[in-house]
């Protein structure tokens, strides 16, 4: 629970306006979704584990409701229902509070935080991925953060290809994901040794790789399956575009970032800013999501945490004055 008064509230509003005006110049239409909706919606949209973090309650008729734990689920549903006949792509943005009970990271623990987010629905591939990455970078640039931020990208298909290659069952897949995500190199080495006796160590080192284009080559030296390689190629093509836009200083490739959300199907993105202990934004491609509401189509988007950004920008301004 957090109050913003006077100057703080103005700063928060200014950051929100900056983000929304960037969305607007990129032709993203604002969407306002209900704060209270049927719990089922969020379970279909986010999966059970995430949705259960929401605040749930029943109305007088015993129907299970929830305070929205995300906006993406609602947007995916209207894209597949109300707006099913609208020409694609759909571009939506929002600034809306979301409510969650359980922290992913203790440092981002807030019951309520406001997401600045966007969704690009109905178009897949590199141009769409690049569009949302450019949007995220442009918003951050507007916030006077200097060079103190970094956007990390990865592609979950690299991991999915590996899990398929090793023929892992669900618990083993989750264990491998966790070991990579927490960069437990020694344990990771032990885990993959039985599958890859020769290059287990090189494989385990991959989880620690974060950097620029050279990371991709290092990955190709140890990854041979077609699915992962296709994802590495997609990432490389994206990186070439990032370089040609002169944005390579703001981006990093982080092969160890394997988020717990099972709904990402390709590109993933995280945003870090000096002064914030946890990420202040995340996103990616979730082509499976709208299918849960009856019409499968590609979709990509991200959210920034307005409260975390306000905190960091505010502290930065105080230090400079």
């Amino acid at each position: 629970m957090r109050y913003y008064i006077g100057a703080e509230a103005r700063l928060r509003r200014r950051i929100e306006d900056a983000a929304m005006s960037v969305f607007e110049t990129w032709s993203y239409e604002e969407v306002i979704t209900p704060s209270v909706d049927y719990y089922d919606l969020f379970e279909q949209g986010m999966g059970q584990t995430e949705a259960q973090r929401g605040f749930r309650f029943t109305d007088n008729d015993g129907r299970l409701l929830a305070l929205r734990p995300d906006v993406t689920s609602s947007v995916a549903r209207i894209a597949a229902t109300l707006l099913v006949d609208r020409p694609r792509p759909l571009r939506f943005c929002y600034a809306a509070p979301v409510f969650r009970q359980q922290p992913q990271s203790h440092a981002e623990w807030r019951r309520e935080n406001t997401q600045l987010g966007c969704e690009l629905i109905g178009v897949g591939g590199k141009p769409a991925d690049l569009e949302v990455l450019r949007l995220a970078a442009e918003i951050l640039r507007r916030l006077d953060l200097g060079s103190s931020y970094c956007l990390t990208i990865n592609n979950v298909e690299i991991f999915n290809g590996l899990a398929a290659e090793l023929d892992l069952d669900t618990p083993a897949r989750e264990q491998l994901r966790r070991l990579i995500d927490t960069r437990e190199t020694a344990e990771l080495h032990r885990f993959v040794r039985e599958f890859r006796p020769h290059d287990g160590r090189a494989f385990a080192q991959l989880a620690q790789l974060t950097g620029k284009r050279d990371v991709l080559q290092a990955a190709r030296d140890v990854i041979q399956n077609a699915r992962s390689l296709a994802a590495l190629n997609a990432l490389e093509e994206l990186w070439t575009e990032i370089e040609s836009l002169g944005l390579e200083n703001e981006f990093e490739i982080d092969l160890g970032d394997v988020p717990s959300l099972d709904y990402y199907t390709g590109l993933t993105l995280k945003v870090f800013v000096h002064g914030a202990g946890a990420n202040v934004g995340r996103g990616g491609r979730y082509d499976g999501l709208t299918g849960n509401f009856g019409r499968a189509e590609p979709a990509v988007g991200f959210v920034l945490n307005l409260d975390a950004l306000t905190e960091v920008v505010g502290r930065r301004m105080a230090q400079q004055s």
């Binding site: 020694a186 080192q205 620690q208 870090f272 202990g277 990420n279």
Partner: protein
């Protein structure tokens, strides 16, 4: 400069010895002083000496970029951190011990478990479907069975001497614990060079000078 939180107590001497082998030295008179924040001789690192349970807190909030702390503490805290290195120091086991080893199998109703590690204990007995009442203590857990506060304890064991001297036997081993290097997720990206240098220096020291 990056900031490193070190767990005071059990692990501190081993951690400082490991840092020295990695070429990171603190002035002895400063370590022995009562100052809780020190800078190393090169000025590249700032060290915070905090209670073990606070290491994950400092690192998760990004106040410290890295931390040296036991796995037992990490399991208990459930903090979201990166764990790039097993330091192999302060090796010990987390065990279930009892004064009467039969107590587990006798089926004498709900057992009481005294421990500092309530999360680890709850997860352990929960996974076995054993109903237990967990009594959280902050130290001298070995006393609890003798005084009738609990039937079992869950605690760290290094040599086993404290257990023996208090008339306790190990009935089950939950897991092993060693000192770990933990890194904040944001620092890992934003201070990649400095953090990477620190991780490599420690890795080199662990491998006896040979790079992994």
């Amino acid at each position: 400069m990056i900031t490193i939180a070190i767990a005071k107590g059990r692990m501190q001497d081993d951690a400082l010895a490991l840092l020295a082998r990695a070429g990171i030295r603190l002035r002895e008179e400063e370590v022995n002083s009562r100052r809780l924040a020190l800078t190393d001789e090169t000025g590249d690192y700032r060290f915070l000496f905090v209670k073990p349970g606070d290491v994950p807190v400092y690192v998760e909030h990004g106040i410290a970029d890295c931390g040296l702390v036991g796995r037992d503490v990490l399991l208990e805290s459930e903090a979201d951190l990166l764990l790039p290195l097993d330091l192999g120091i302060a090796r010990c086991r987390i065990v279930v011990a009892a004064a009467d080893p039969e107590v587990m199998t006798r089926g004498a109703g709900m057992l009481r478990v005294a421990t500092k590690y309530s999360q680890i204990a709850a997860a352990h007995f929960g996974a076995r479907g054993m109903p237990v009442e967990i009594i959280k203590l902050s130290g001298s857990v070995e006393l609890a069975p003798a005084l009738g506060l609990a039937d079992l304890i869950v605690d760290l064991v290094q040599s086993g001497r404290t257990l023996r001297e208090n008339g306790l036997t190990v009935v089950d081993e939950i897991t092993e614990s060693t000192g770990r290097l933990v890194v904040n997720r944001a620092s890992y990206q934003l201070k990649a060079q400095a953090v990477g240098q620190f991780v490599s220096a420690l890795r080199l020291a662990l491998n006896g000078g040979e790079a992994a």
